[in-house]
Point group: C2
Chain length 373, copies 2
């Protein structure tokens, strides 16, 4: 079996950039399959990639894994053959036979849909549909039904080969990981930040995940989340910083001047400060957070502004305009949701009434008074 891989935005790029992105995508597919001990050859065809899975007992697993490779818009398991109408017909009959066997039905309705990217091929799409359709009708005595078929036999006429398939799976889209630089993602055990990191990987960024550790319990959840994310970026880096002492100090200082309601704000400012250092050190071009506007009381514009103040680094917030249910849906889709909700770990320093509408001047005053850097 082979798998035909289709990309989306890569195809909109100039030739040079496209070839570069195709090559990164090719390598990323090999790397992810290799992680699961699946050996595969991947060829770049005419605006498609062809995956040849050599580990025969893991073909289904390989199909599943392609769902996690950024840059892939859709993909189809099937068989390729030389650009010859008889070869195409023969391969189509084999593919059809296999699919009928899988379905366990003998009396099915089918349709043939040909896409001819290679206009040099002597038969056009309608002619290929007709020739292949007729051969299948003759061979299996089936009915054609273009509107509501049980099986749609797809044929792609590419530059050097044809490809025949019956299924089309959806990929995550985006751009190949590693094509768009490195980002430092702040990652917690919650629902949002893993989704934010995933979205940046989807757009082609290499991930450096930084967890600011407060409790061992949360770290354990984060480890599992990182394991899931490492399928999307097989070369991600994971860094843990022991943050408890910093947060304790902030809390203590604020408590002394009776300003505990500002704990979350100063905590987040400190987090960004630490992230900034790591981003520089690990050569990342941006800091990524799971911030979302208005989701919880403290995620106000005013607080976001106060928190970012003084950070001289690009901060990206891919979830900023997401609804809670949109983030949750994505978390379920990528596989981090169940881990995030398995046990809610409350921050031990969460004030009773966190400040929701902080002001820059006020925060600067408190910073001085409490001697927080």
């Amino acid at each position: 079996m082979e798998i035909l891989v289709r990309y989306g935005e890569i195809g909109l790029k100039s030739d040079i950039i496209r070839r570069n992105l195709e090559e990164i995508l090719r390598k990323n597919i090999i790397k992810l399959l290799k992680k699961y001990d699946i050996d595969a050859d991947v060829y770049i065809l005419h605006r498609r990639l062809l995956v040849n899975v050599n580990t025969k007992d893991k073909e289904d697993e390989a199909i599943d894994l392609l769902r996690k490779v950024a840059g892939i818009v859709s993909y189809s398991p099937g068989y390729s053959c030389p650009l010859d109408i008889d070869e195409i017909i023969n391969t189509a009959i084999q593919v059809m036979k296999k699919k009928m066997k899988d379905l366990g039905k003998e009396k099915i309705k089918f349709a043939v849909k040909t896409k001819r990217s290679n206009k040099q091929f002597p038969f056009n799409s309608v002619e290929v549909n007709k020739k292949v359709g007729e051969a299948i009708v003759e061979k299996f005595n089936l009915d054609v039904d273009l509107d509501n078929p049980d099986i749609t036999l797809g044929i792609e006429i590419l530059r050097d080969r044809a490809f025949i398939f019956t299924d089309k799976f959806e990929g995550i889209g985006g751009l190949p990981v590693g094509s768009q630089g490195r980002v430092l993602c702040l990652i917690s055990d919650g629902i949002d930040s893993p989704v934010a990191a995933f979205l940046m990987a989807k757009r082609g960024c290499r991930l450096v995940l930084l967890h600011l550790k407060i409790t061992e319990e949360a770290l354990n959840k984060v480890r599992k989340i990182v394991e899931v994310l490492s399928d999307y970026d097989t070369e991600l880096e994971f860094v843990v910083y022991d943050y408890k002492k910093d947060l304790e100090e902030i809390y203590k200082k604020l408590k002394e001047i009776k300003k505990e309601s500002y704990t979350c704000i100063f905590c987040k400012k400190k987090m960004l400060k630490i992230a900034e250092k790591y981003a520089k050190y690990m050569e990342c071009d941006a800091i990524v957070t799971g911030d979302c506007l208005g989701q919880v009381a403290s995620q106000t514009l005013k607080n976001l502004r106060v928190i970012s103040q003084g950070i001289n680094y690009l901060i990206l917030r891919p979830l900023i305009a997401f609804d809670k249910n949109e983030t949750t849906e994505l978390a379920k889709k990528i596989g981090t949701y169940d881990i995030a909700i398995e046990k809610e770990i409350k921050c031990p320093y969460l004030p009773k009434f966190p400040k929701t509408l902080s002001k820059i001047e006020e925060v600067e005053k408190i910073m001085k008074k409490a001697n927080i850097s």
Copy 2:
């Protein structure tokens, strides 16, 4: 006719915040309908809103417009009645009669689905389904089909009234505009920036749209886009700044030192500088851009970083991790796509080979050399 409005995230908030958001949503519905000369009363019910359209010849238009109100997750035209089982049955028969007439069919299959938020009501959901279903069978001699009905009659048992309907329309979700502060959105005649502005309105922000004018043609497109967006935020403000002279100066200065390839970078830096001034002046807490990673060659992480450098303001980029087709789909849905693509206006200062991977140090050097502030 009345319209029952359902919200999503608003329901997750504490009582005080929820009531405040409900009231903002109520006023926003009235304002949008009023803009189209539709008079309506809007009542806050038990975690629902009830819209009573008084302008009888504009009921369909009112139904259409609710699709544009941030905070609404779904809504249903129908009729309310007192919390009495006989009243519910009678109203259900009227609603059913109307729907059958609209469908133009007499022999249809139907189902009843009751949702009882008010647990005080003496009949539970199953009992209401049964009583109403039996009455309809008797009255119209129809068949019940729970799996594949032609009409699903919905009944919501609320605290003070019941509501009966057959259709459910999807809203845009999010939070009511005006509940999350003000943002300054840089807006151009392209596909992306109107979508970015829409997304911030969807999350409850009041919009100040700033267009940096280079050509009259582009401004005319932007005016039409602003008109579309003003349905999502009926109180948005629109500001035009004559930017041509600034850009000309940047181009001239860069040309003098043969660094025209940096035109886009310095242009965008200047745009953010101007946006920063306006954001302060117009009391916005953030600047919003349509930036998207890797969509065009100049939208690299490194360029985004260089461009943001020196801007001491919260910058939000809601599209940062969007695929091109995701942004395009949204643009079509909100109604700005057709305007954006009607005529492509190329920037007259676009260099042949725009710099894609700029460095902060290099840009600072050029800034000094070319005397650009």
